[in-house]
């Protein structure tokens, strides 16, 4: 499927075995968990990291509670506001997150620290030009894995694959430590870029690189399954997704599994997973509507089979983030609604 040189290059540099790294992350979280000092920003960061890597929404919700408590306990501490801004941004509460960053700066947090967080939010809501200004300034000031990586992912997100591809290599060459998480996350973003661009072969290389480094990296495994399915390897995709549909509390895995099972001619199993995903999405949309609007819209467009609800959620998502993907999601949902109306009229 792909050249061995590509694969071996993607597996450099050597980093700590993914299982060890996750055990060590668990070890750090365990120590914090026993602590009475729950408001610490470092603990929130560790939880958010595990939430992303393992697809654990309950970790993100826990981090959210702690970040809110952190601000309540130390409302003159700018760092607590930065931590809360990060968590709020993860839950797509972008306006509140930006307000937190202003407050953090007022309380003495350095402008560049606050701006770094703002750039992430600007990118998420489609204000690419604003984000580029901050990211370029940071990378010009100090070119390292963090600043170059952030600029690279912004290029990727904005659709400039040619520049991003050059920068991905450059960023990887800056990696001088052994923690597997940042480089696996970078490779995952590279895979996402190629998947969006429609180059599934390239996407697979980078999702596999991320999974090689970190076999339990749930989003990378989920996207790899999507690539497998798109390339006709549905059985592999089903095997890959089944584990995460069970272990993760993120309904995205069950939703994807339902879709692929349906395409594979297994309607009963598809309905079972779709029902599970629906129940979970309903709960999450009740508690964090903004955070799950886009993924839920995708679900209702596919195995959830409810284009009207998909359009409602896609519009909600577009209100929050004017990204090409959000616009495309609205367009797809509107088309699905139109198609359904047309079919109903014909009936």
């Amino acid at each position: 499927m792909f050249g061995s040189s590509d694969v071996s290059a993607a597996r450099e540099p050597r980093t700590t075995d993914g299982t060890i790294a996750l055990l060590n992350l668990q070890s750090q979280i365990d120590v914090y968990e026993r602590s009475a000092v729950h408001g610490q920003g470092a603990f929130v960061e560790l939880l958010m990291l595990r939430a992303h890597l393992l697809g654990r929404i309950k970790d993100a919700e826990w981090a959210n509670e702690l970040a809110e408590a952190g601000v309540r306990q130390a409302d003159a501490d700018g760092a607590a506001f930065v931590t809360r801004a990060r968590v709020r941004a993860t839950f797509h509460r972008f306006t509140e997150a930006l307000r937190d960053l202003d407050e953090a700066e007022r309380l003495g947090v350095r402008h560049d620290v606050a701006d770094n967080e703002r750039a992430t939010i600007f990118q998420a809501i489609g204000r690419y030009a604003d984000s580029f200004v901050i990211r370029r300034t940071a990378a010009d000031h100090l070119s390292n894995f963090e600043t170059l990586g952030a600029l690279t992912v912004l290029h990727a997100e904005s659709g400039d694959t040619a520049t991003a591809e050059i920068l991905f290599d450059k960023t990887r060459s800056c990696y001088g430590v052994v923690c597997p998480f940042p480089i696996a996350m970078l490779d995952f973003q590279r895979g996402r870029m190629w998947m969006t661009a429609g180059d599934l072969k390239q996407a697979r290389i980078w999702f596999e690189a991320a999974c090689f480094r970190l076999p339990d990296y749930a989003p990378a495994q989920g996207h790899l399954a999507e690539v497998d399915a798109a390339l006709g390897e549905r059985k592999a995709a089903i095997n890959r997704l089944s584990e995460y549909a069970v272990s993760s509390d993120d309904p995205d895995y069950a939703a994807q599994l339902a879709r692929i099972l349906g395409e594979n001619g297994q309607p009963e199993e598809a309905i079972r997973w779709s029902t599970l995903a629906l129940a979970r999405y309903n709960v999450l949309l009740g508690s964090h509507p903004a955070a799950f609007a886009d993924h839920a819209a995708e679900f209702f467009l596919e195995s959830g089979n409810d284009p009207e609800r998909a359009l409602e959620l896609a519009n909600m998502n577009l209100e929050l983030r004017k990204t090409p993907r959000a616009r495309e999601l609205v367009a797809r949902a509107a088309e699905a609604v139109r198609l359904r109306c047309h079919l109903m009229t014909q009936e």
Binding site: E12, T16, D17, S27, D30, V31, V178
Partner: protein, 390 residues
């Protein structure tokens, strides 16, 4: 503190973080040297060593090149080392537990394998190795140190709380026959340093440790530095070969030490270490040679830390093995050294022993605490941030 969380990179990935280095003649086996490298501060029960790191302890023979105000060592060219590497984690069948294997390679080609957390360690010839989780033997009054730095006065109450109470670390303990150390058999005075190195096509140094408190205390404060007031020097310092500092940044390290050492000297309101005409502190060059110094011709002693260097400064022959024993109160020693040059009155931080003092039998360190307390605030970062505000 000691060397816990001694740079931003170490804080970001504690598996690379060397917390302490100890070297001492074995109290139980004559003619054997014990080397202990502790890593991963405040680790929880599931912590394991990285399989992408070479945990390495290096030794070189030393001679005393000069004594008195310009006391200095000459570091020999010959080197011996102990490189410990680890496997990926292997799950035990039918359990949620993981095991890890390790191998220690000496510079002379000797190899010994061991299983992590096997309390007996592994032995082959004159070499014995243990690796696994242990109770952190370090102890300090972190609150007192923080208050001292912030108030610029000694702020140790009579009884302090051990900030490191109950925490665990990942330890590597090596026992080696002294006669196996160097082929030439030359010398009985050694420099000892520990490093975490990347494994793979590119090998680079991530952390290093020698004497205690150099990075977390002596190099930490930026606000007094007349040259680099906003530079995190410790990250650069970690990249350096402990036996031979490169020429590029040594001036920056000197400037930082020459600025910070007088700060500590002045904490008791008097000057015990007058600077020379060029503004150089008498300890700067000696501390830049950042390794433990151990004399294996001398018997085991509990309080040898920096005794060899102090004797050199006085122009006298040293009396002890030097090095660093696990139960030695290094915080008291460093404050007495930096603040009053050992001239008294005696300074104590009010914390005089570890959670569970180490034993005198291999592997020396106490078994781990199954329920370690909450993670420490990063004391170095707190001190650095607080001291930079003014």
């Amino acid at each position: 503190m000691s060397d816990h969380g001694s740079s931003p990179r170490a804080v970001a990935d504690p598996v690379i973080d060397i917390t302490d280095l100890f070297a001492f003649p074995s109290p139980e086996r004559p003619n054997h040297l014990i080397l202990v490298m502790n890593t991963f501060p405040y680790c929880g029960p599931s912590a394991l060593f990285s399989d992408a790191i070479d945990y390495r302890i290096r030794l070189r023979p030393l001679t005393i090149a000069s004594t008195g105000a310009k006391a200095a060592f000459a570091v020999g060219e010959e080197e011996t080392s102990f490189s410990c590497t680890f496997s990926a984690a292997q799950k035990i069948k039918g359990s949620h537990q993981f095991v890890q294997e390790g191998v220690c390679r000496t510079a002379h080609g000797e190899t010994i394998t061991f299983r992590v957390n096997d309390g007996h360690g592994s032995q082959s010839g004159g070499l014995r190795v243990f690796a696994g989780m242990r109770l952190d033997p370090f102890f300090l009054n972190g609150e007192g140190i923080l208050a001292t730095v912030l108030t610029q006065k000694l702020a140790f109450p009579g009884n302090g709380n051990n900030t490191a109470h109950g925490y665990n670390v990942l330890s590597i303990v090596i026992e080696v026959n002294v006669s196996d150390l160097f082929k030439s058999g030359d010398g009985l005075l050694f420099a000892v340093a520990a490093e975490t190195m990347t494994i793979g096509s590119v090998r680079s140094r991530l952390e290093r440790a020698g004497r205690s408190e150099i990075k977390p205390l002596v190099l930490l404060l930026k606000n007094l530095d007349p040259v680099n007031r906003d530079l995190e020097l410790r990250e650069l310092y970690n990249l350096e070969d402990p036996f031979q500092l490169g020429p590029h940044y040594v001036g920056a390290y000197r400037a930082r030490m020459n600025a910070n050492l007088p700060f500590f000297d002045g904490l008791d309101g008097k000057t015990d270490w007058p600077l020379d005409q060029g503004g150089t502190h008498p300890l700067t060059e000696l501390l830049l040679a950042d390794f433990l110094v151990v004399d294996v011709s001398k018997p085991f002693t509990e309080d040898g830390w920096f005794e060899i260097e102090r004797a050199m400064l006085k122009g006298e022959p040293h009396r002890t093995c030097g090095g660093r024993w696990l139960n030695h109160d290094v915080i008291d020693s460093i404050f007495n050294l930096l603040v009053n040059a050992g001239n008294g009155p005696l300074i104590s931080d009010g914390v005089d022993q570890a959670t569970q003092p180490s034993s005198r039998a291999f592997p020396f360190l106490s078994p781990p605490n199954p329920s370690p307390p909450s993670t420490l605030p990063n004391l170095s970062a707190t001190i650095a941030a607080s001291a930079t505000r003014d």
